[in-house]
């Protein structure tokens, strides 16, 4: 009886919480073998009454699984161990290389204390341990931070689970530009419009979004502060204004304008001053994106007769073609570590995400879908976010750089498109 009384508010809270409902729709697909995956035992955290759902180890586990770099040992239904008395040896014998244990304690005023330890199962030592005091509203953010710490300790590369994504959701004739956590949860609307919104991109510091809105009966580039919500037009010249990309310094943008007739790439200060033209010709030059050092601009051009990926020095000069396979390669994006180019390639009528190693030009198709668009690297360069179509609706997905782990982020009932992965 007492148990039922305590369970009811928990259940009610779960119903109210959108992340819970959406989480149930997350799908992680592992395509290839488990080679090189780090085996980890993520033990159930001891829970506190009134804590949000789902449990922290669930959110952390989904993060780690989505990265494609971990295999999680079966721990469901196990009792949470005392944080000071985790039997590492048992897990070592089951093949675990690392063990995570944690506990949640309720504090006065609706706050919680969260503690976790990451243990090396081979050396039988603690790799790292942290304690947080949080509100219920910081529940998911705390889980992503824990996942980031585990990821960095075990792979040597910083995690990207606590980062954010932006995307456009279409419902009937309504368009909403949204910012969500990197796992697609906790979405917040930052622009609502009755006209299309496309091409959102986070500023390097994550404080602003640039995007294209059709509310003025033509495409116009807007820059919006995420904190205050204020915005201004960054490019509203005669003709179309589109395809904005941030320079790494966050002060300049590359945009595509048609003020001189053909779609050409220009550089402009974020406040709309200092316009200079970067590419010259009568063909289409569009979808510019800066290299991480700001020295090079990658873009799509049909100057060779079909759309292909090119690059040009940010100071101008003669563009050089980079993509050669197939007759349709578009939407280039650079990994923040500068090693990879990703783009959408058409092959036999299917549009899929292609990864190209910039050092040797070798390419690899990462996805197995047919209508992929808008690729964007994780801030740690370890996976690619993209839009695709499933059951006639736009969905967002991530794929690991080896193409073996794909996850769907958004619910299938929601039409999501134009994702960008930001800080």
């Amino acid at each position: 009886m007492l148990r039922a009384v305590f369970l009811f508010p928990l259940f009610f809270l779960a119903l109210l919480s959108a992340p819970f409902a959406a989480r149930a729709a997350m799908e992680i697909e592992v395509v290839g073998g488990a080679a090189n995956r780090i085996a980890i035992a993520l033990l159930p955290f001891s829970s506190a009454q009134g804590q949000p759902a789902p449990a922290l180890q669930q959110i952390v586990g989904d993060d780690l699984k989505r990265s494609g770099q971990f295999s999680l040992l079966e721990t469901q239904g196990m009792a949470p161990p005392d944080l000071a008395l985790v039997s590492i040896g048992d897990w070592r014998s089951k093949g675990a290389e690392a063990v995570v244990a944690g506990q949640v304690t309720a504090l006065p005023g609706g706050r919680f204390e969260v503690k976790f330890r990451l243990l090396d199962a081979v050396k039988q030592t603690q790799l790292v341990g942290y304690s947080y005091t949080i509100t219920a509203g910081q529940w998911r953010a705390t889980a992503h931070q824990i996942a980031d710490i585990i990821y960095e300790k075990l792979t040597g590369t910083r995690g990207a689970f606590a980062s954010h994504i932006a995307y456009v959701q279409k419902q009937g004739k309504r368009y909403e530009l949204k910012v969500a956590d990197a796992d697609g949860q906790n979405p917040r609307t930052v622009v609502r419009s009755g006209e299309p919104l496309i091409s959102p991109a986070f500023s390097p510091d994550g404080a602003s979004l640039v995007y294209v809105s059709f509310e003025d009966k033509k495409p116009v580039v807007y820059v919006q502060s995420l904190r205050e919500g204020g915005r201004r037009k960054a490019a509203a010249f005669k003709g179309s204004n589109s395809a904005p990309a941030w320079a790494p310094d966050g002060r300049r943008l590359a945009v595509v304008l048609t003020r001189d007739q053909a779609s050409q790439i220009y550089l402009i200060n974020v406040d709309g001053s200092g316009l200079t033209r970067l590419t010259r010709g009568g063909n289409i030059d569009t979808e510019p994106v800066f290299s991480p050092d700001g020295q090079t601009v990658y873009f799509t051009s049909d100057r060779g007769g079909s759309p292909q990926i090119y690059r040009v020095a940010a100071s101008g000069g003669e563009p050089k073609r980079l993509s050669f396979g197939g007759s349709y390669n578009v939407s280039p994006t650079l990994s923040p570590d500068g090693r990879y180019l990703a783009y959408i390639g058409r092959d036999g009528g299917r549009f899929r995400v292609v990864l190209q190693d910039l050092a040797n030009g070798q390419t690899r198709v990462l996805t197995d879908s047919a209508r992929d668009e808008s690729p964007s690297f994780a801030p740690n360069s370890q996976s690619v976010l993209y839009a695709t179509v499933q059951g006639g609706r736009g969905v967002l997905g991530t794929v690991s750089l080896d193409g073996k782990t794909r996850a769907r982020l958004s619910e299938p009932g929601v039409d999501a498109r134009e994702p960008d992965w930001g800080p």
């Binding site: 299309p196 496309i198 091409s199 059709f214 009966k217 033509k218 495409p219 005669k238 003709g239 179309s240 589109s242 395809a243 595509v256 048609t258 007739q261 053909a262 779609s263 289409i284 569009t286 979808e287 799509t300 759309p307 349709y328 578009v330 939407s331 959408i344 058409r346 549009f351 668009e373 808008s374 006639g392 498109r417 134009e418």
Partner: protein, 192 residues
């Protein structure tokens, strides 16, 4: 040369308009109002053009609003080439086909005769491929129509080529017929 041809065409268009205007008004009216339709069925034999015209004369007062939509404005006359506002393109093509020459010449003549009139050429594409690349493709189509009008004597200040890319499809279906409908440039006047 083109300009002279354009003005001659405009004159033709205007005279054609004045002679067909009443007839068109009648068609609008009988089709649009149930009250009129009942009257039309009252003793008037179907397929009799003269009686239809008669009804129109009788209903001139009643249909004043309908007729007013394009009364005196040749752009709204269904019989005028100015009422043709869409230019369709073949797959992966930016070539304005010959069949659109009469309509574009009429629009050019109208714009030449009214220097304060402005048009926006709105390019569209089908939904396949990159949104931004499609925006550029739609722009290339809008630009082709802009150039055609410019050659016919329309000034730069009267013309703006913009693109909606794949964002505002007229037909949202996912098939070849819809793709063809969406590979299009619309001629939209600034005062409409």
């Amino acid at each position: 040369m083109n300009k002279i041809f354009g003005i001659a065409l405009l004159a033709l268009t205007l005279s054609a308009c004045s002679s067909t205007g009443d007839k068109a008004a009648v068609e609008d009216r009988t089709g649009g109002t149930t009250g009129t339709a009942t009257q039309a069925g009252d003793g008037k034999s179907a397929g009799n053009g003269t009686e239809t015209t008669g009804l129109g004369a009788e209903g001139v007062k009643g249909s004043a609003i309908d007729g007013g939509k394009y009364a005196g404005d040749p752009r709204k006359d269904p019989a005028s080439p100015l009422s043709k506002r869409s230019v369709y393109f073949d797959y992966d093509s930016f070539v304005v086909k010959d069949e659109y020459s009469p309509a574009l010449e009429a629009h050019a003549a109208y714009l030449v005769s009214k220097r304060d009139a402005r048009v926006v050429l709105q390019g569209n594409t089908d939904e396949r491929g990159s949104r931004e690349y499609n925006l550029a493709l739609g722009q290339k189509r809008a630009e082709a129509v802009r150039k055609a009008l410019s050659v016919l004597g329309v000034t730069e200040g009267q013309l703006e080529a913009v693109s909606f890319g794949e964002e505002k499809p007229r037909d949202e279906a996912d098939n070849e017929a819809a793709y063809a409908e969406n590979r299009r440039v619309d001629v939209v006047y600034g005062d409409e």
